[in-house]
């Protein structure tokens, strides 16, 4: 049992913490989010330079031999600053698919670009009617010639406007919700027939509706075994869940600290509102929610390489508990900030919004409670 980080991990954390503090301050973030691009490619380039984008890949694949704990550290720091850059879709998701199931040629083709920052990915898994079931797919990839023809509509693909490539789940065989027959493809976003409607998200990111209109894919667009993609998708999604839980922990930590600080500064009835016991206890509860979330984020992260059932239960436990905590901490932070909490000007409202949307990514509280029960 050891909850200590290595010296290297501490260095990574300190470096990222400095980067977020010095180059991702609130006003800079606000301007970036409101800009036409909606993100900061120069920060992405810097993350590549610092080795952050290559961290989870093995040295043989051109990376730096890190693991899930490193991704957790990165995302917790990003959560503190509400960093919008697509680390999870690109490094955790696309990187995960390539690491676990990519051929040597696919790794060669894509990982170098992820590591040096030139290739950005989005993970197109959700569909309008599928809710949180990865196997509930209307999108199909039909064998044609030597490759596939991809048709369908993917919903709310986070980071797609910034992406050069997409990881797309599609059905290659079987009925709509069958566990067999699900496949994973890598798709060049500039391919003919890929149509995107880009938009802002309520939590300051960008996303797209992605429509595939008979997109011709070469045979080597398939990642992993045809029709056997579901276990791979679940594995990678559990990694994304662990990483996003870490992000939520970072956001909760800052939201809590901001609230405590506000309660020190804000005076009503001649005293700081932080002197009122009713508010003190609620801020204690927020803090407890945060600490419980950190614990389950550790659990989910450290179980990613465990047996399948253990891994899934830990990921679902974290997603349930961190999801509940994110909602509670966000709501309480706004309430204790009073009217200022519902303004666009104060940062706290933006933390609240990110913590709200967290629940609906990779399955919400109810979804993961059911998954946890099913695995009992």
């Amino acid at each position: 049992m050891d909850f200590n980080f290595t010296e290297e991990q501490d260095m990574v954390r300190d470096g990222l913490s400095r980067l977020v503090r010095e180059q991702y301050d609130w006003e800079t973030r606000r301007a970036a989010v409101a800009s036409a691009a909606g993100w900061r490619p120069e920060i992405w380039a810097q993350l590549a330079e610092l080795g952050i984008l290559g961290m989870p890949f093995s040295e043989a694949d051109g990376g730096f031999g890190g693991g899930a704990v490193d991704a957790m550290i990165v995302m917790q720091e990003f959560g503190k600053g509400l960093v919008v850059e697509p680390f999870v879709p690109t490094v955790v998701c696309a990187g995960g698919f390539l690491k676990y199931a990519g051929t040597a040629a696919q790794k060669e083709e894509h990982i170098g670009g992820i590591v040096d920052g030139s290739r950005v990915f989005a993970f197109a898994y959700a569909e309008p009617r599928g809710r949180y079931d990865y196997a509930n797919l209307v999108t199909t990839a039909k064998k044609a010639g030597g490759g596939y023809v991809l048709s369908g509509h993917k919903a709310v693909v986070i980071g797609a406007p910034w992406a050069s490539h997409l990881i797309v789940t599609a059905r290659t065989a079987g009925g709509q919700r069958d566990h067999d027959g699900v496949s994973v493809f890598v798709v060049d976003k500039s391919a003919k027939g890929v149509i995107t409607r880009d938009y802002e998200t309520v939590d300051g990111r960008r996303a797209s509706e992605v429509y595939f209109e008979n997109v011709a894919l070469p045979a080597d667009a398939l990642i992993g075994e045809e029709g056997a993609g579901l276990p791979l998708i679940e594995r990678v999604s559990d990694e994304a869940i662990a990483a996003q839980c870490a992000e939520a922990c970072g956001a909760m930590q800052v939201a809590h600290a901001m609230t405590v600080e506000y309660s020190r500064q804000r005076k009503q009835f001649g005293v700081p509102i932080g002197s009122f016991q009713v508010l003190q206890h609620r801020m204690v509860d927020m803090y407890t929610e945060y600490e419980q979330s950190v614990s389950l984020t550790y659990l989910a992260t450290l179980r990613l390489d465990a047996a399948e059932k253990e891994r899934k239960r830990a990921a679902s436990a974290a997603k349930v508990r961190v999801g509940q905590a994110a909602i509670k901490v966000g709501q309480e932070a706004v309430q204790i900030h009073g009217g200022n909490g519902v303004t666009d000007e104060y940062a706290i409202g933006h933390y609240f919004k990110r913590l709200t949307i967290f629940d609906s990514e990779f399955g919400n509280v109810d979804h993961h409670m059911k998954r946890h029960i099913a695995l009992a």
Binding site: A36, G38, A126, P128, R129, R131, Y132, D133, N136, A155, V156, I158, P161, Q176, R177, I195, T196, R197, D198, Y199, E200, T201, V202, D203, R206, A207, E209, Y211, K267, Q268, F269, G270, I273, F276, V278, L279, I327, Q331, V334, Q335, G338, G339, G341, V342, T343, D344, E345, G349, H350, F352, K353, T356, I357, D359, S360, E361, N364, D366, M369, K370
Partner: protein
């Protein structure tokens, strides 16, 4: 005791339902959010009701009230909620109107009540200040007597829809030397076109512009705009807040909201079955309905008490707390119901380069478009009108006697 409607009450329901069906502006039916409406839209129904004589049902009949019983008023709000009607804004009808007819002089009644009834005059509320929120009595805006005028200086905040307002009611300090902060405050009516008033927008986290900062610099207001007595404004302010609270429960609207939530949850699918058939989700909806039923009867009991001659008392704080908690929970469940489609920000859709804006490629079902914005917006309800913490303090003091 009896919860059944009498034949007369059922006939009344038919009458108002028919009136609403015939007269409610068609283009405003089932409007999404107030922020999306033009100012004309916001007062359109008010003006229709003004002509009919139904715009201020709760007022005493000599000032234009309808004389409806509490049950009739309840039926009236239910029928309006059925079409999600944009009701008259509260600032005139529920806030300053009752203050004027209760504490104002004859000239003030004659000048202001007709415009409030008709919807021709738009009012805003100048209560909160940056340093005076929950502790409203610490307000610093001053009104200094200069001949037959007051000269007002200060800054108000959260002045809802002040950008359209013709008149405002302001709490100002007229006796800075009073022994208690509550004792030196006056309630003053201000023509918003008076020189020295500047209204600056505050953007809220849902992206909307609903509230403002209002700056008053050497604003000269005739002394006849003082309501009641000088330095007695706190009494009128509290009276107004109690009135505001009793309407704040929003029962009829929440009932319509639950119906809509059920419609959404019937359209959304989980494992190819309607979400509403999922036990976990259905349980939450039922819990909400149960809480709402309790609130509804609590409100009816309060109204019956009012009818019996008791004004809205401290128990209206319960209505405020539970009403806002239910409204917030409703929007939270609605956001949960729409799943991933709660994530897009629909306010700015066609703006990104490369976006065709074509309807050929829709972004989520229509019912999802307001879900997140409404959830974010409704966080204000447990903060405004006296935060829910303040309401609990009121109950602690006034009911528990602690």
């Amino acid at each position: 005791m009896n919860l059944e409607f009498s034949p007369e009450e059922r006939a009344f329901r038919e009458e108002v339902r028919a009136f609403i069906a015939e007269n409610y502006p068609a283009h405003l039916a089932d409007f999404g959010m107030r922020e999306d409406m033009s100012p004309e839209d916001m007062v359109a129904w008010h003006k229709v009701l003004g002509e009919k004589g139904w715009s201020v049902p709760a007022w005493p009949t000599q000032y234009g009230g309808t004389g409806w019983t509490p049950t009739q008023r309840y039926i009236w709000s239910e029928e309006n909620a059925r079409v999600n009607a944009m009701m008259p804004l509260p600032f005139g009808v529920s806030m300053v109107g009752p203050v004027i007819y209760t504490f104002g002089n004859e000239a003030q009644k004659a000048q202001h009540l007709p415009g409030i009834r008709s919807g021709d005059v738009w009012w805003c509320q100048g209560y909160s200040e940056p340093g005076a929120g929950s502790d409203l009595a610490s307000l610093k805006t001053t009104a200094v007597r200069d001949g037959d005028h007051y000269v007002i200086n200060g800054q108000k905040t959260w002045t809802t829809l002040a950008q359209y307002a013709d008149w405002g009611f302001f709490l100002c300090r007229t006796d800075p030397g009073a022994a208690k902060p509550q004792e030196g405050i006056s309630f003053i009516l201000v023509d918003m076109k008076t020189p020295g008033i500047e209204v600056r927008p505050i953007k809220l986290l849902d992206g909307g512009h609903e509230v403002n900062e209002t700056w008053l610099t050497d604003v000269r207001v005739p002394v006849e705009n003082l309501v009641g007595e000088e330095n007695k404004g706190w009494t009128y302010a509290k009276f107004l807040l109690a009135h505001e609270r009793s309407g704040i429960a929003g029962v009829a609207r929440s009932k319509r909201g639950v119906e809509k939530l059920r419609e959404i949850a019937a359209a959304e699918m989980l494992d190819d079955k309607p979400l509403i058939s999922d036990f976990d989700f259905a349980r939450k909806v039922s819990q909400l309905e149960i809480d709402l039923a309790a609130l509804e009867i609590t409100e009816l009991r309060t109204l019956a008490g009012e009818q019996a001659g008791k004004g809205p008392g401290p128990e209206s704080s319960i209505l405020k707390i539970k009403g806002t908690e239910i409204q917030q929970r409703l929007t939270e469940l609605t956001l949960e119901a729409v799943g991933s489609y709660g994530t897009p920000y629909y306010g700015n859709i066609a703006k990104l380069p490369g976006d065709t804006g074509s309807n050929q490629y829709p972004i989520g079902p229509d019912y999802a478009h307001h879900a997140a914005a409404t959830y974010f917006n409704m966080r204000k309800t447990s903060i405004y009108g006296g935060s829910n913490e303040i309401q609990r303090n009121i109950i602690t003091k006034m009911i528990l006697g602690l």
